[in-house]
């Protein structure tokens, strides 16, 4: 190779490297659009709201006076709704995922179900609210209750849970199943003792990401008729006269964090905007905490799996 050819080659490499570098820069830029926007919004909210957060803010009911208003009924409502959502979405979602991966015959019907589940994940949340208004509130007569809201949000996150379950199950090597079957285990035994335990890290992550989405939802909850002013708490779960009284809390009227925020931002007094920022800050913290929990659980469970 003569000197000239070598020179040309070096230039070619250098120009390719420049492109690499440029694309990397573009990537960082694209990433920063999201990250910086979020950081700016979050910082803005924190600056506005953080001074307002104290014990009183967490333990007071809404009030017409911004300084006395708090988010007690809102965060308790959010928590209880999430409880119902988890109880409904987790068993159904995981069971559906396991069925589709381990039991379902590979035919056109299964294909149609699979396609529809992916599509459901993209349906706007207000549609779920309208469905729930007709089905849960009126047809089943569950009323504008914590139960209705929890079930609505459970429907909303079901596709997320199912897809996450399936992804997690697919990551398990085929030899595990084959080994289990070779020892004479039934499908159920294989699922119970191997598939679900080994995929639990991925499943949990999916559940918590779904829940983090659900906690910030406003539209479907407003559609089913959540309230704005509510200065009392639902009965404590499972504390009433058994058996029926234990479930009183499910049928109690409620409000949730995003609705409380929404109401505060639309008030004429500027002081309510500060309340809204404080509530928003706490809501984001709740979501971040849930995501953090997901990461931690995944880490813990991965470590404990021994194949």
């Amino acid at each position: 190779m003569n000197q000239q050819e070598l020179q040309a080659l070096r230039e070619l490499i250098a120009s390719h490297k420049r492109w690499d570098w440029l694309f990397g820069l573009l990537g960082v830029f694209a990433l920063m659009i999201g990250v910086l926007t979020f950081t700016a919004l979050f910082a803005n909210m924190a600056i506005d709201g953080i001074g307002r957060i104290d014990a009183d803010f967490l333990t007071s009911f809404p009030s017409r006076r911004a300084a006395n208003a708090g988010i007690l009924s809102a965060w308790v409502g959010s928590l209880l709704v999430m409880l119902v959502t988890a109880f409904a979405a987790v068993p159904i979602g995981v069971a559906a995922g396991v069925y589709l991966e381990e039991y379902a015959p590979k035919n056109w019907l299964t294909d149609i179900i699979e396609i529809n589940i992916s599509n459901l994940a993209g349906v706007p949340s207000i549609i779920y609210g309208l469905l729930a208004l007709g089905l849960f509130v009126y047809t089943f007569g569950l009323g504008q209750s914590i139960l209705t809201a929890g079930l609505t949000l459970a429907l909303l996150i079901l596709p997320v849970v199912i897809v996450a379950t399936r992804e997690a199950i697919r990551a398990i090597p085929q030899i595990i199943r084959e080994g289990s079957y070779a020892c004479g285990a039934t499908t159920w035994q294989t699922v119970r003792d191997h598939i679900v335990p080994y995929s639990s890290a991925g499943i949990l992550t999916g559940i918590i990401i779904g829940m983090a989405r659900a906690i910030g939802e406003t539209a479907p909850i407003i559609t089913i008729g959540a309230l704005t002013f509510i200065a009392f708490l639902p009965p404590a779960p499972f504390a009433g006269e058994p058996p029926a009284g234990m479930f009183d809390w499910l049928f109690a009227p409620f409000t949730v964090m995003p609705i409380q925020m929404f109401n505060w931002t639309s008030r004429p007094e500027a002081a309510f905007a500060v309340n809204a920022a404080a509530a928003g800050f706490l809501l984001v913290l709740m979501t971040l905490a849930m995501n953090g929990l997901a990461i931690w659980l995944r880490y813990r469970l991965r470590k404990s799996i021994k194949w």
Binding site: F61, P62, S63, R64, T139, F140, G141, L142, G143, S145, L147, G225, A226, L227, T228, F229, I230, A231, F232, P235, A244, G245, F247, D248, F251, A252, P253, N263, T265, S266, R267, P268, E269, A270
Partner: protein, 328 residues
């Protein structure tokens, strides 16, 4: 199949346990009336040491009446009188109601404080801006009055589901819900306030409380009700003496007559009328004279049912006239 059975079982269960131990007064409806009712609910629960629970929702006047006429709520907040269709719905469901005006609100037409050419607007001029025929055509202040500068006219108004929109269009364009469509609509009045503060050619209408809270950033336009009438700016005083026309409007609560027999609802309504004067002032609404609340209480005690407005959105009813109206 199993799922359906389970759901039905749940539904039956819901009916059997829906009666909670603590009595609840259920209220829903207009966002305009919400601050007043919220204040009353807050004070009432304090006074009763939380032995009675009150819930207040915001579904808009129309949405509130839908629930009310299905018998789902005890009291409905309304920023306009009940309309013909809603009267029929209530009748069909066997829901009777007692109508009570609780305060006045002055719909305020606001402009940017830097707008130095508008000193007042007549109803006729407002109509030129807002009527359906203005859509796409009236785009400059110069078209309203040739003496005004050729600045773009940017309109902001309440969303079509609100009683505020119904009332404004009725008062200005002569027909409820008839309006040009090319304006920035929002159910959130703060968005309207923001719009006018950012745009020198902006004009918006919203409840008086929003103007009162944002006085530094806005200018309220005095309104000329008709030929030869003086320009009147919105204020508590001009609403009370009836001179702020035609944008002063009464706001109401409607009490389900059946619910009124429940002790907690009866007591709440009585508490409402006794404290409304002070509380409406606190949330920046124009309270009715004390005798109006006494009159409401008397009507409530006698259970005078029905509406005094005959299913129409009457424009420009003064407080004096309101009290003279008889239920039909």
């Amino acid at each position: 199949m199993n799922k359906i059975a389970a759901a039905l079982a749940l539904a039956g269960f819901a009916v059997s346990t829906s009666a909670l131990a603590t009595p609840v007064v259920k209220i829903d409806g207009s966002s305009t009336v919400y601050p007043v009712t919220e204040a009353v609910a807050e004070e009432y629960q304090k006074a009763k040491k939380n032995t009675v629970n009150v819930t207040v929702g915001i579904s808009g006047t129309g949405g509130g009446f839908k629930k009310f006429c299905r018998g789902e709520t005890d009291i409905s907040n309304a920023s306009r009188p009940i309309l013909k269709k809603e009267i029929d719905d209530c009748k069909a469901a066997g829901v009777e109601y007692i109508e009570m005006p609780i305060a006045y609100d002055a719909l305020t037409v606001a402009i940017n404080p830097k707008n130095d050419w508008v000193k007042s607007l007549s109803v006729e001029q407002l109509k030129t801006m807002w009527e359906p025929a203005a859509q796409g055509k009236i785009t400059s202040w110069k078209q309203i009055n040739p003496a005004w500068p050729d600045r773009p006219l940017k309109l902001f108004g309440a969303g079509a589901d609100s009683g505020t929109f119904d009332y404004f269009t009725e008062a200005i364009n002569g027909k409820s819900k008839s309006s040009r469509g090319d304006f920035t609509a929002s159910e959130d009045d703060n968005v309207l306030v923001q719009g006018v503060t950012r745009d020198i050619g902006g004009l918006a209408f919203f409840g008086y409380a929003y103007y009162e809270e944002n006085r530094a950033k806005l200018k309220a336009v005095p309104i000329v009700a008709g030929e030869g009438k003086p320009a009147v700016a919105p204020s508590m005083q001009t609403v009370i003496d009836g001179s702020y026309q035609p944008l002063a409007r009464p706001i109401f609560i409607y009490v389900n007559a059946k619910s009124a027999d429940k002790p907690e609802v009866k007591e709440f309504v009585e508490f409402y009328m006794k404290n409304a004067e002070a509380l409406t002032k606190e949330v920046k609404y124009v309270s009715l004279p004390a005798k109006a609340y006494a009159y409401n209480l008397e009507h409530f005690a006698k259970r005078v049912k029905g509406t005094k407005f005959g299913g129409e959105n009457k424009v420009g009813t003064t407080i004096e006239q309101l009290m003279k109206l008889e239920a039909k």
